[in-house]
């Protein structure tokens, strides 16, 4: 747990938020479906409370209920909500409005959408003060002060701008400024950094932490990311299927998780150092229940490795594990004995053969947009060996997806780029590639909903892929189809279903099966798990590892999640503004000496184990690819900036150690020495 968070000074006063037996239902197609099943929690003054859970568990519903802002089809069926000691449910509309104005605020995902596109930033922030009774001038003055407090360096010009002219991170600062404007007693943060880049996320989280000290506000922090909770909160609750299953101090819960669900969640995240050849990830079997589904007395029974008959019959009470740490499990005392769901042993690592299957030399891609040339990729070089995984990381706009599309032939690289499969140059467009080349190079897309034709059955989707890629028909094809489904652990009985009837994890299995239909040699995985819930992610990662071991396929694995990339990759490449900044073995890339950008990227990620590194702040925003900085493209934000040489001269991609390349003027020795201490803050 972080040491910098202010100690909760628990004065015996009314809690900032108190939910008691809260039950909320939504009416969908004429039926009331329960979303929150009797949630009781209380957030003390000045306390930061984290609420974790996967999609559909009701965490956002809890947040909106605390503002009495439920969708029209939603209703509080039972229980009570008290904000600052006031009973929210018995208030008149006007009192609720007063409360929203002064005591509760909320920040949520997608900050750019949260701001009105046609009103200037300044006016939107000032509105809050004007509402509180300030004159127009005074309101604008205070708005400007507030914007400085959220560390916007040029508030005067930001005030005059519109949301679309600012970056997502900047907009989130504005939203936070608006939320804190009236110094509320409770601030609800609903996935406030989801969708932001890692370095920006780090900045926003730091900001919230700083402001907490300044404003005496309690936080309800809602997220699916355990790392964020561990960084930001003192106490946490775990929500599953609308029921709070475990609650306690953050450090306690991470150290001694006492509910099988929490244990599963903690186990299935690839954590620092764990790699595919050492340990398979644990998974939580089964699926997230449907909204408002009929569930056994203990809602987790169907997915629990410890479940017994009593779990179906009797709802477990909140057992006290230690002071303030409770678990809603009959067997909380032996919950840690929860058997692993995946029995398969890790696949021992084979040293990949030396001959590369795929080679890229001097790959460039330029987009032309309204007269501007935007260089999305510049001189990208790498080789992919048989059976190897190359992880590709980078923030938005770094060119990850462009590279993926280009390799599989969905868009052609610039003239002069070389992409070779087994030593033979590949045509730019997939339409011009030979059938063997096409089947050798496949992709798993990020979002299976988009990647699977929603009109077709799984049988047709896979069958067509087999026919086209292998040329097989009839009974032979059916046999192959069954094998294929089996190989991705897809129940053949579901083969007649359409994508919409399957869960996210099953859909992604189908997408993987399709990629493997033609026995590919290289599969590009473009963020294959980022649309999935954590408990599903692990199973998919295990599957990818297993398939790789069986079929000797090479992966180019793209992800923004460094933990996942680290777990899966043999080597890792780091992209920034279309340039390869660093490329090396997975073990070496995340430890010094490392490229300054990789260093910053790694430090920005909040981790669940609590060993917090000093975060390296990156100055400013990611520059636009349309006008990249001169010299080293990273020099505008580099924490290890040397001097003019970085501005004027672009460093080459050099081999600094055997098999370890980077694009920096520093040598390996220099950086190893420098990185023993965190960099001096630059201009923050």
């Amino acid at each position: 747990m972080s040491a910098t968070a202010p100690e909760p000074t628990v004065v015996q006063t009314t809690p900032a938020l108190e939910l008691r037996d809260l039950e909320v239902s939504y009416r969908v197609r004429g039926i009331w479906r329960t979303v929150l099943r009797g949630v009781t929690l209380s957030i003390a003054r000045n306390e930061a409370y984290g609420l974790v859970g996967e999609s559909g568990c009701g965490k956002s519903t809890a947040a909106f209920a605390a503002l009495r802002y439920l969708p029209r089809n939603g209703r509080v069926m039972n229980g009570s909500i008290h904000v600052d000691g006031e009973d929210l449910l018995s208030m008149s509309e006007d009192e609720v409005r007063q409360l929203r104005m002064s005591k509760v605020s909320m920040v949520y995902q997608n900050p750019t959408a949260a701001l009105n596109p046609s009103i200037r930033i300044g006016d939107q922030v000032a509105e809050v003060y004007a509402l509180a009774g300030d004159s127009d001038d005074r309101a604008h003055e205070r708005a400007q002060e507030m914007l400085s407090k959220v560390q916007i360096s040029d508030p005067v010009s930001v005030m005059r701008r519109y949301p679309h002219q600012l970056s997502g991170g900047m907009n989130q600062r504005v939203v936070i400024a608006m939320a804190l404007a009236t110094n509320p007693s409770l601030l609800i943060l609903d996935e406030p950094t989801t969708g932001l880049d890692a370095t920006v996320e780090g900045e926003v989280l730091d900001l919230i932490k700083t402001l907490r000290g300044e404003f005496e506000t309690s936080l309800l922090f809602i997220t699916h990311n355990l790392g964020v909770i561990s960084k930001m909160c003192e106490r946490m609750g775990v929500l599953y299927a609308g029921r709070l299953v475990e609650e306690g101090p953050v450090a306690e819960v991470f150290d001694r998780p006492s509910h099988p669900y929490t244990i599963g969640l903690v186990r299935c995240i690839p954590r620092g150092g764990v790699r595919k050849d050492k340990e398979t990830l644990d998974t939580i079997p089964g699926f997230l229940p449907q909204l408002g589904a009929e569930l056994p007395a203990c809602v987790f029974t169907d997915r629990c490795g410890l479940a017994e008959e009593i779990c179906r019959q009797q709802e477990p009470p909140f057992h006290r594990v230690t002071d303030g740490h409770c678990s809603r499990c009959h067997f909380y005392e032996r919950a840690h004995t929860l058997p692993r769901a995946t029995g398969a042993p890790p696949v021992p690592r084979e040293s990949p053969r030396e001959a590369p299957v795929l080679e890229a030399h001097g790959v460039r891609k330029t987009f032309h947009q309204e007269g501007h040339a935007i260089q999305a990729l510049a001189d990208v070089e790498f080789a992919l060996k048989e059976g190897e995984t190359l992880g590709l990381v980078g923030e938005s706009g770094s060119g990850k997806t462009t590279l993926a599309r280009l390799l599989i032939g969905l868009s052609a690289p610039d003239e002069g780029s070389i992409v070779e499969l087994d030593g033979a140059q590949l045509a730019g467009s997939v339409n011009k590639r030979k059938r063997d080349q096409v089947r050798a190079l496949q992709i798993v897309f990020q979002n299976p909903d988009s990647a699977l034709n929603r009109r077709f059955s799984i049988h047709r989707i896979l069958g067509r892929a087999l026919t086209m890629l292998t040329g097989e028909h009839g009974e032979k094809r059916e046999e192959r189809l069954r094998q294929l489904a089996h190989s991705v652990r897809f129940d053949v009985r579901l083969i007649g279903a359409r994508p919409a009837q399957l869960s996210g994890g099953l859909k992604q299995r189908v997408a993987i099966a399709r990629a493997f239909a033609g026995e590919p040699r290289i599969v590009v995985c473009d963020e294959p798990t980022s649309a999935l819930d954590v408990s599903v992610q692990a199973a998919i990662l295990n599957l990818l590892v297993e398939l790789q071991a069986q079929k000797k396929v090479a992966y180019l694995f793209i992800s923004h999640d460094l933990g996942v990339v680290r777990y899966l990759s043999d080597r890792i490449a780091v992209l920034y503004l279309g340039r390869l900044m660093e490329l090396g073995a997975a073990e070496s890339v995340f430890d010094p000496p490392q490229h300054p950008y990789t260093e910053a990227l790694g430090s920005a990620v909040p981790t669940a184990e609590g060993t917090e590194r000093t975060r390296i702040r990156l100055v400013g925003e990611i520059p636009s690819a349309a006008s990249p900085p001169s010299g080293c493209v990273f020099h505008t934000r580099c924490p290890r900036y040397i001097g003019d040489i970085c501005k004027t001269e672009e460093p080459e991609l050099r081999e600094v150690e055997p098999g370890h390349f980077w694009r920096c003027h520093y040598s390996a020795e220099q950086l190893r020495e420098l990185q023993k201490t965190p960099p001096p803050g630059r201009g923050v």
């Binding site: 979303v35 909106f64 969708p71 449907q290 909204l291």
Partner: protein
């Protein structure tokens, strides 16, 4: 006005979307049927759809069995009985040539209910094809066709129809042709927009990554996904086709005499209104109004179900 506590709008976005059923585990044996059944159930629950269907069904019966139902021969002229007010022998009265207005209204459903669907079907087929191609290829083809479509749309449909019918001479075939030509770009535009959305989905890329030919991608992969908008567009355009054909007939450029067409009947008698002869105008007018309203209620119901 809704109150504060209640969120404004049916904000499904306000919290976790409850309307979207997550995923089920066990699929029903025949899945396509289920979706179809569910849609049908939704349609049957829509009051507008039912109202529209009933009205349309009524006129379809008149169109098919008109001559059997009609009390008199709609074409039989009888100058002696010209312009008789509604009475027990002629419920809707008679027109200038002594023909029974009721019979003419009943049988009048036939021509428009043949011409309008045919024309709309033709336009939908051509528009869908055009929309698929322009939406998928974009670039030069798309730009050029887009300009031409803009030029056609710059002139009101009725005037384009007028112009073409003057050029080609009025006849039923010409009417079908004209309506088809005028509606094709409109439908193409809608389909194109839907295709532009679809082609961003990665299943299109996935099809290319197994060497599918473009026609298969267009008709095998994309078309099934845009059938919803196509169906909606068809029903909406059907309403407009009836509207336009009635107007053209009223202007004398559509269905030709002595056919008992409604627009034509109004055209032949609207000058007599100020003389107090309202019946040969009012009843066909009500017929047109009910038919177009019926078709549009139907279209509204369908679009509510398919555009979700």
């Amino acid at each position: 006005m809704s109150s504060f506590g209640e969120p404004i709008g049916s904000s499904v976005t306000a919290a976790e979307p409850p309307a979207q059923a997550e995923s089920t585990l066990e699929p029903a044996p025949s899945e396509a049927k289920v979706i179809r059944r569910e849609r049908l159930a939704l349609l049957l629950r829509s009051k507008t759809f039912i109202a529209g269907a009933v009205i349309l069904a009524f006129w379809i019966v008149c169109a098919i069995f008109g001559y059997l139902i009609a009390p008199d021969d709609p074409l039989l002229t009888n100058p002696v009985k010209a312009l008789q007010a509604p009475s027990s022998s002629h419920l809707f009265g008679t027109d200038t040539l002594g023909r029974d207005v009721l019979s003419r209204v009943i049988v009048g459903a036939r021509d428009i209910l043949i011409v309008a669907p045919l024309a709309t079907l033709l336009a939908t087929a051509m528009g869908t094809l055009l929309g698929l191609v322009t939406g998928y290829y974009r670039g030069f083809v798309d730009d050029t066709l887009g300009r031409i479509i803009d030029a056609i749309l710059a002139v009101p449909v009725v005037i384009v129809g007028l112009l073409s019918l003057v050029a080609l001479g009025p006849s039923t075939v010409t009417v079908i042709f004209v309506i088809a030509v005028v509606f094709t770009p409109v439908i193409a535009r809608t389909v194109r927009a839907a295709v532009l959305t679809e082609r961003q989905y990665e299943y299109v890329a996935a099809a290319r990554l197994r060497n599918e030919r473009t026609p298969y991608i267009l008709f095998g992969e994309i078309l099934p996904n845009v059938m919803g908008p196509v169906l909606v567009e068809f029903t909406v355009r059907l309403g407009y086709a009836i509207f336009t054909i009635a107007t053209l007939s009223f202007l004398g450029f559509g269905i030709q005499p002595p056919a008992p067409d409604w627009g034509l009947q109004i055209f032949q008698h609207y000058g007599l209104i100020s003389g107090g002869y309202w019946w040969p105008v009012l009843f066909p007018a009500l017929a047109i109004a009910s038919l177009v309203i019926g078709v549009n209620l139907l279209a509204d119901g369908i679009s509510q179900v398919f555009e979700r």
